[in-house]
């Protein structure tokens, strides 16, 4: 098989677009079902086994719906936003190490280069920019309020999100997700062979970092208690309010990719990525670990009431940002010791 064919399969089928799309729909189902059980509901039930095909059916149904563009909307931006919000998380997922095609027991990202972590963080920021533009261009008053809120929220959680993501990179001495995962695997093996106090301290610090990261991801994913920018009962889904039909389907798919990206980043940065004890292949570890991450995210999202935007901002700047800075400082100190 030529190199080109392998790359084509990697990009299009596995672990590329086809796998990621079905996995995103699966994660959405897990999220919905788990949240429903926690809330004493049943959740999706009829489409496929225990409703596992429900997210897929929802997308198909939305694709068939009428697509309306408001008369006074900015047509170009209004059309562009769903496409970009769909494409960006998918693009970011290609640098996540999942599974190598040539060797069943090794993992490699589809496209990796030194500094891909920065690209992922950049893509996460750009997404919010497009959420803002999408809400603003829809020329709806609820859309404008939602867009404004999304931008304000970004100010609150963007800095801790970036800082905490850097801390494993500092330890690994690399800005490539693949190398960070490799460092995690080797240092964990070293620690098991010879446990030491700095090792334990580093583990605790990174655990705190993972906690901060989960909180920031909840905000990034617009899940409770940070679904401020689409608060259904307040501003009727905020920036998404004017989207319908195919555009809404793309937005939903993009959100589902974002959920997978969040879980995959959490896995790669703090949980050792797709690595795990032999003889289970990396893909199984990847699916298991990201599923656990989705469980954590959806569990947290049902525990709280929604924050108000001013409460969220003051809370993030008072506690989350200082904590993230302290965490990075602790990691830098520990990196000198180890």
């Amino acid at each position: 098989m030529s190199n080109l064919a392998v790359t084509a399969i990697e990009v299009l089928i596995f672990p590329g677009i086809l796998f990621l799309t079905s996995y995103a729909l699966y994660c959405n189902w897990i999220n919905r079902k788990f949240a429903a059980r926690l809330q004493n509901r049943i959740g999706p039930l009829h489409t496929g086994w225990n409703g596992i095909l429900q997210p897929f059916a929802d997308v198909i149904k939305l694709l068939a719906n009428e697509d309306i563009t408001p008369a006074s909307a900015n047509k170009t931006l209004f059309l562009l936003t769903p496409i970009i919000i769909f494409a960006l998380p998918l693009a970011a997922l290609f640098v996540i190490p999942i599974q190598s095609l040539s060797n069943l027991w090794s993992y490699a990202p589809v496209a990796a280069f030194e500094g891909d972590l920065i690209v992922v963080l950049f893509l996460l920021t750009i997404m919010i920019l497009f959420i803002f533009l999408g809400g603003w261009s829809s020329a709806s008053r609820f859309g404008a309020v939602g867009a404004e809120r999304a931008a304000l929220m970004m100010i609150a959680y963007e800095i801790p999100l970036g800082l905490v993501a850097i801390s494993p990179a500092i330890m690994a001495g690399s800005m490539s997700l693949n190398k960070i995962v490799e460092w995690e695997v080797s240092s964990f093996a070293n620690f098991l062979a010879a446990p030491s106090l700095p090792g334990i301290l580093l583990g605790v610090t990174l655990l705190i970092g993972a906690g901060i990261y989960v909180i920031c991801l909840l905000a990034e994913l617009e899940m409770r208690p940070f679904d401020i920018s689409e608060a259904e009962t307040e501003i009727v889904h905020g920036w998404q309010v004017e989207y319908s039909g195919k555009k809404l389907a793309l937005l939903h798919l993009g959100h589902e990719f974002k959920l997978v990206l969040a879980a995959a980043l959490l896995t790669s940065l703090f949980l050792g990525g797709p690595a795990g004890p032999w003889p289970i292949p990396p893909i199984v570890w990847f699916v298991a670990k990201t599923t656990v991450c989705v469980f954590i995210l959806s569990n947290l999202s049902v525990l709280f009431a929604r924050f108000r935007i001013d409460q969220m901002l003051s809370w993030a700047w008072k506690y989350l940002v200082p904590l993230a800075v302290l965490q990075v400082m602790a990691v830098i100190v520990l990196s000198g010791v180890i």
Binding site: V145, D227, A305, F307
Partner: protein
């Protein structure tokens, strides 16, 4: 209006509102500057309809004024008619009316608590509360045969008796409700995100509550001691030992605490009724075509949302000459304006829901031309044509 301000319309269709009504919010960024409530989207002409139907037919119309306080409306109506008739109803039927009324209060307050949790984005609490509310819905179904619109009170008594064999089961269900409500009281008073969203939000001072004629739990949350069950007892409320809860905060949290405490008190009243109910007949005779002598009557009932006023004028026919209903939401709706001025957009749903509005009971409409000092009404056809013309403009 300054350049920074713009208007956000909430309703007639909005996820925070369970019934159609329109509020125009003038906002500056996230801050609400002014509120303009516009009622009249759900006017059904019930009062007029009642004037052309017999007293027994009206029993079922008046019940459908509101799905949630159906029993309160029916109780008020039967009291009016009985007063004009000079009829004394059997003692047992009074107990049964109180029993159903208090069960209805439990179901309404739990429903409200769930909706309030949903408005602040706490869906988990909403699902849990509505699951436990099923207990009281089942109880109501056992007692009356229906989950809402119970059709229990009738002119001269009640339509169905409650059987002594079921009392132990009723007691057990009421205990469950009391226990679960106590748990939610703990959750609402201690869960931090709820406190953040509810404490100090949408405040009405005691003076404002009195000035704007707030009623029921909304008034009691502001520290106004007003409860028709205490102030002018009807049925057997003067015999029942129960406590009136007031709070001084006037904010959403006080509203929650007053209603949750009232729910538990209502469960206690129900248990007291089951323990003390006397034996005897349940209704006096009133034939469907009976005429009611000339006279008029006003009846007050403490519905779940506050003071409910019914007025009946009879001219000796088998139909009322004039019937008038004032639902408590009409009194409470003005407090919303005061509560929301200076608040955040994010607080609009919870503050609106905080008064437990029931718009369709409240709705009334009349066309006013302020410049010409003219008032008139329209029938359905005229309204439709007016609407079409308005949209074509």
């Amino acid at each position: 209006m300054s350049e920074r301000e713009y208007i956000i319309p909430i309703g007639p269709q909005h996820p925070a509102l369970k019934e159609p009504e329109n509020f125009l919010f003038k906002v500056d960024g996230e801050i609400v500057v002014d509120v303009e409530p516009r009622i009249g989207y759900n006017h059904r002409g019930i009062e007029k309809a009642m004037e052309s139907r017999t007293y027994i037919q009206n029993l079922y119309i008046v019940e459908r004024v509101c799905g949630i306080c159906s029993n309160a409306h029916q109780t008020a109506y039967t009291q009016c008619v009985e007063e004009v008739l000079g009829m004394e109803i059997p003692e047992r039927s009074k107990y049964i009316r109180v029993f159903v009324q208090e069960l209805e209060r439990i179901h309404s307050h739990l429903l409200w608590l769930g909706v309030a949790a949903h408005e602040i984005g706490f869906d988990t609490l909403f699902y849990y509360i509505w699951r436990d509310r099923e207990v009281v819905m089942d109880l109501l179904e056992m007692v009356s045969g229906n989950r809402c619109n119970y059709a229990m009170p009738t002119i001269g008594g009640v339509r169905r008796d409650i059987s002594k064999e079921n009392f132990p089961m009723y007691h057990k269900m009421l205990d469950t409700l009391h226990e679960r409500t106590l748990y939610y009281l703990g959750v609402c008073a201690s869960e931090k995100t709820i406190l953040e969203r509810a404490a100090g939000v949408g405040v009405t001072s005691k003076a404002d509550a009195i000035r704007l004629s707030a009623a029921g739990p909304t008034a009691r949350a502001s520290g106004v001691e007003s409860d028709i069950r205490k102030d002018s007892p009807y049925l057997i409320y003067d015999e029942i030992p129960f406590k009136m809860y007031t709070e001084t905060g006037g904010d959403v949290l006080s509203n929650v605490l007053v209603r949750v405490n009232e729910t538990m008190e209502a469960a206690k009243i129900c248990k007291w009724v089951l323990d003390n109910i006397p034996d005897g007949p349940i209704k006096e005779k009133f034939s469907p075509m009976s005429r009611v002598p000339e006279g008029e009557a006003v009846s007050l009932v403490e519905a779940q949302r506050g003071e409910l006023i019914h007025y009946l004028q009879s001219r000796g026919e088998n139909k009322p000459y004039r019937y008038k209903i004032r639902a408590p939401t009409l009194g409470n709706i003005l407090t919303v304006i005061e509560k929301l001025k200076g608040g955040y957009i994010a607080d609009i749903p919870i503050v609106l829901a905080g008064i437990d509005p029931c718009f369709s009971c409240t709705d009334r409409m009349v066309f006013v031309d302020e410049g010409k000092d003219r008032m008139w009404d329209m029938n359905g056809d005229q309204l439709r044509r007016y609407g079409i013309r308005w949209y074509e403009k």
